[in-house]
Structure formats: C-alpha cells, structure tokens
Amino acid sequence: MRFMLLMIPAGYEDAPPGAMPDAKAVAAMMKYNESLQRAGVLLALDGLHPPSMGARVSFAGGKPKVTDGPFSEAKEVVGGYWLIQVKSKEEAVEWAKRCPGSENEVIEVRQVQELADFPPDVQEAAAGFSELQARSGTGTHS
C-alpha cells in the first residue's frame, strides 16, 4: 500500500516568497529521510515553496478563475510530502511518528488510491491510466 505523509506546518500559509527552512531542521529531516530510504519504504519526497509563490485556479461553473497566492482564507497548507510504500496504515502512522516534527507541525497520513481499489466498471473506464503513469517521467529535476 502506498501512503502520502503530508507535512502541514502552522504559519506556513503566511510565509513570504523565498522563505527557507532552518538549516538545523533540514539536517534532522535528512537523517529521517535516510532512515526511510534504508528501510526501503521511500518512493518520493519534496518540499513546496510557500503559497505566496503559488496560485489557485477555481472552476465555479467549469470556468477557470486564477487567484495568486498567498491565500488569505487558508488556515493550513502543505509544506511538503513523503510518498511511502508500507504494509498497513499502522506502519505508515509509525513512520509519521518517527519524524522529527516540531510543535507547530502536523503530519496527515493518507492512503493513495490504487486501480485495484475501484470497482470493475471504473477500472475499465480508467484503463490506460496505469500505462500513462508508467510513461510519465520521474525525476528530471531542473
């Protein structure tokens, strides 16, 4: 099973453009990342720039409307994520608990949908998605 660990740092919704994580916190997090990798569970990980550098598109009535960040109504935002492969939700939660998180942080653990989780008719309608995923690149980081 694949799970997403979503890091939600309180206050990140108001962070200015170019805000960087603290070097000490990064060093502690790298040790944690290493432990995930050594255990063979780490599939992907990324940090996200603050919402002030992002944008939102809403589709009321199917018509796209763009709003530049920051988003004043946002109470909590994602600061980064890990994608892990584990045997159960309990194991995913155990990994989240080992993270060197600080008091202002919450990790949300969410299971990723696999094609096999859907009923046969939906699987059929979504046929080709796995193939698309396989064709999608991973890792041109530029």
Partner: protein, 143 residues
C-alpha cells in the same frame, strides 16, 4: 521547474463517491495531453480522510488522531507533479483541466539549487542518492 498541482477535496470525494465515466474519460484525455507534452511526472488520487490519520508533535510526544478531519476546510483529494518552464505555463495547463466547481492549487517545488550555499556538496550528494534510490523503488512499485 517542478510544480505540485493540488486538487482540493469536496463533499463527494470525502464521502467516497467515485467519478463517473464521463469525468474519467475527460480526465484520461487531459492526462494523455500532459504526458504527450512531457509535463507529467506523477499523478495520484487519495482515499477520503476518513481512512487516514493525523500525527501531532509536541517535544517527544506524539498524538495520533484518526480521520475524518471535518474541521479541516482544505483537504486534498489528489495531486499531479508537472515539469514546466514557469508558473504561467502551469496555470495555462491547469485552466484546460476538465474540472467543475473544484478548486486547485499550484505550488512550486523546492529544487536543490533553491537552497543556495546552505546546500553543501555533501548534502547535495546525499539528496541525489536518496532521490535516485526512491525513484528506482517507485518504478518497481508501479509494475
């Protein structure tokens, strides 16, 4: 640059209502366009928050709260990772997505070079090794 395109949850995604054939077909076509344009790095949907959990940190203490997180106004239903040249390019692509009523957020992803001199050669080497190994595992998991 890479961007994460975050699709917000709504009542139907949170109650586990599955997309109908029309939406699946339209979304399939959109995904196909993304792949053909060489943009799509990843794309996943998440199960409702009722199947998830949250972990809160306080010193050494950890508190686990089981989902659903009804108090959270902005839950995530799924995401893409796209390789684009600019935020504008990402926004233009997103505008073409077959959504109705949904809100979607685009966030630039931290790249190694964003950290400047704080990213020492040793840290860079560690980071690159982690990513290479994670990618290998991820490819194996897709098979």
């Amino acid at each position: 640059m890479r961007v994460m395109v975050i699709v917000k949850a709504d009542e139907s995604s949170e109650t586990g209502v599955l997309p109908d054939e029309k939406l699946l077909t339209e979304m399939g076509q959109f995904n196909e366009e993304l792949v053909n344009a060489g943009l799509m790095l990843a794309g996943e949907g998440l199960h409702p928050s009722s199947m998830g959990a949250r972990v809160k940190f306080d010193g050494k203490k950890r508190t686990v709260i089981d989902g659903p997180f009804s108090e959270a106004k902005e839950l995530i239903a799924g995401y893409w990772l796209w390789q684009v040249k600019s935020m504008d390019e990402a926004i233009e692509w997103l505008k073409r997505a077959p959504f109705d009523q949904t809100e979607v957020e685009i966030r630039p992803v931290f790249e190694t070079e964003d950290f400047g001199p704080a990213m020492t050669p040793e840290l860079r080497e560690q980071e690159e090794r982690l990513r290479a190994q994670a990618e290998q595992l991820s490819k194996a998991a897709k098979r």
